[in-house]
């Protein structure tokens, strides 16, 4: 799979904006972004890191960085959500790098599989477990695109902006990952 090493869009410190003139307006915009994206950012980071404690730290750090850099946001380079997720992505990748330096994380994907919903029927529960297992076994890069699409609720264009790839490239990545998940689920079944 082709994974171009390009920068997440809208994350540069030289961007400008988030400003609506007064500082109060800027803060309100940020608060609105926080309210609408808090859960999504956490879900995305947790799916990427598979470590709830680290996900909390990274989520907090991402929002704090976004707050500090809110005046550097440039709408011409993307929407606020893509900008925020770019920051969160960089923070999460830094966390992955830190982990790799300090210790090798040994993770059994089966341990990460959450329990099935209590309300599910047996067949649905079985299917859900198969999907969760398949997701847990995906490489981080593919987990990331699933997290952005289904956990953060992003459009393909937004996913592309966060990953720094073209929309068609992001679509292709998503398609391949979904096909991989489908085959893994069928194999499990």
């Amino acid at each position: 799979m082709d994974h171009p090493l390009v920068r997440s869009v809208g994350v540069t410190e030289t961007d400008t904006l988030f400003r609506t003139g007064s500082g109060t307006g800027s803060w309100e915009r940020f608060e609105e972004l926080y309210r609408s994206s808090r859960d999504d950012v956490y879900a995305y980071v947790l799916t990427l890191l598979r470590d709830p404690a680290a996900a909390e730290d990274v989520t907090a750090l991402a929002f704090e960085r976004a707050y500090r850099r809110r005046r550097t946001f440039d709408r011409r380079r993307g929407e606020e959500r893509a900008w925020l997720f770019g920051i969160a992505r960089n923070a999460a990748l830094d966390e992955l790098r830190r982990r790799r330096r300090t210790a090798t994380l040994v993770t059994d994907p089966s341990e990460d599989v959450p329990d099935a919903n209590e309300g599910d029927g047996a067949e649905v529960a079985l299917r859900r477990t198969a999907v969760q297992t398949a997701l847990a076994r995906l490489p981080a890069r593919e987990r990331e695109i699933i997290a952005l699409k289904f956990h953060a609720g992003m459009s393909n264009a937004e996913v592309a902006r966060v990953l720094g790839v073209s929309e068609s490239n992001a679509g292709t990545l998503l398609y391949r990952t979904m096909e991989k998940l489908r085959k893994a689920c069928n194999a499990t079944a």
Binding site: L5, E31, Y42, A43, Y67, L93, E144, G171, L181, R182
Partner: protein, 422 residues
């Protein structure tokens, strides 16, 4: 960059993606996408939930605008690595700025020394002019002077048979004091025991009403250095005022004399020419001829004492007379050459001209014109300094930008590698 990739997506992939989007939007999809739609729904419904405790903590922090909590200031301290990175860049920026500042100061100081540089270049032009003049003066070979340089080519270049230096100064140019500082530098031929004749020509301009005053200043200078006014002509009368002097001053005082004449209060230097001529060979030849003549006379006198016939006596007497005449001639020549070496000739011409703005050398007169002039100078120097600073800062800025770009690229690659190896 892939972001700019506008390749159309495969229709099958596009249809699948549309089906996924439709599923997430709660719309029905074609049966062939049912399996993917189910997976999409399961993935969407399995979104990790934010812990309530963390959500409250985050809300509080955002409510405080990420200010440190009163009871846990250290809890929100940025990561150590981040602090170190920030400090690194701050230190790097400060260092780069410091280097740029030092470079700018050195550059400005260097440009401030432009006067000395100009003096150096003036000396260089002196050498150049002297060389060409040497070639020109080779026309004097018939006088035996050129043979000096021909027989001693290995001597220092400045010991060429003759040289001169001309320093023009435009009328209305710098004030006399300034001109004097650049043209009044004493020109000293090398003191290697050679016999060197020095002379100078100085052309001055003065206000028509100041010609006599300048002439008096010339007299005063000559008197101060124990020189001689060989001849002088002073003509007063409006724009045709003119003065000319032929001076002889002790060669040791020539530099001082020229310096003073170049800084006369009411005159302005328009040009100055310094000449030197090496007459060592001519001097030595004359001295040798004198010695030979004296020896001959001594020999003839001895022969005369032993002469026995009248014819011998008359012949020897005639030869002795010739020898003495030769001795007298050689002595006169030596005396003239010594006089030329010991006293330098200076020709000073003073022409009346439209006076430049009056400048008091020794008084601190200050007016609007001078203030404007000084302000212009300050602005010029400041602009020059700023230009030099920019010239120094641009490469430094480029290096910093390059380092930043390389650092960002490396960081980006490491992040992607961390994702691949996770």
């Amino acid at each position: 960059m892939r972001l700019l990739d506008q390749d159309p997506i495969d229709p099958e992939i596009a249809a699948t993606l549309d089906a996924i989007d439709a599923t997430l939007a709660g719309e029905p999809v074609d049966a062939r996408y049912a399996e993917l739609a189910e997976i999409a729904l399961l993935l969407s419904s399995d979104r990790p939930q934010l812990p309530a405790e963390f959500a409250r903590s985050m809300d509080e922090r955002v409510g405080r605008r990420f200010a440190p909590a009163p009871d846990s200031a250290a809890a929100v301290k940025p990561p150590r690595r981040g602090r170190l990175t920030r400090r690194f860049w701050e230190a790097g920026g400060a260092l780069a700025a410091g280097v740029a500042l030092v470079v700018a100061i050195v550059a400005v100081a260097g440009s401030g020394g432009g006067a000395s540089s100009m003096s150096s270049s003036s000396s260089a032009s002196y050498g150049a002019v002297g060389t060409s003049s040497s070639a020109a003066s080779s026309s004097a070979a018939s006088s035996g002077v050129a043979s000096t340089s021909a027989r001693a080519p290995a001597l220092a270049p400045a010991v060429a048979s003759a040289s001169n230096k001309t320093v023009p100064s435009a009328v209305g140019g710098p004030p006399p004091s300034v001109a004097g500082s650049s043209t009044g530098q004493p020109l000293q031929p090398p003191t290697t025991g050679r016999k060197v004749v020095q002379s100078a020509q100085l052309n001055l301009t003065a206000a028509p009403t100041q010609v006599d005053a300048v002439a008096q200043e010339v007299y005063n200078v000559v008197g101060q250095v124990n020189g001689i006014v060989n001849s002088s002509t002073v003509t007063q009368g409006g724009p045709n005022g003119y003065a000319s002097f032929q001076l002889s001053v002790p060669s040791g005082s020539l530099p001082e004399t020229m310096s003073r004449l170049s800084q006369l209060t009411y005159a302005q230097v328009t040009s100055r020419t310094d000449n030197t001529q090496d007459i060592t060979n001519q001097y030595n030849a004359t001295a040798s001829a004198l010695a030979d003549a004296r020896a001959l006379r001594t020999s003839l006198l001895k022969q005369l004492a032993n002469a026995v016939t009248t014819a011998q006596v008359e012949s020897l007497t005639a030869q002795i007379h010739d020898a003495e005449a030769s001795i007298s001639s050689d002595q006169a020549t030596l005396s003239r050459l010594n006089n030329q070496v010991n006293f330098s000739r200076i020709n000073v011409d003073i022409n009346a001209a439209t006076p430049p703005p009056p400048i008091a050398h020794k008084s601190g007169g200050f007016g609007i014109g001078r203030a404007a002039h000084d302000a212009g100078r300050v602005l010029t120097v400041a602009a020059g300094g700023a230009l030099i600073a920019i010239a120094a800062l641009v490469p430094v800025g480029l290096v910093v930008a390059l380092l930043w770009w390389v650092g960002a690229a490396v960081r980006r690659r490491r992040r992607e590698q961390a994702l691949d190896s996770a």
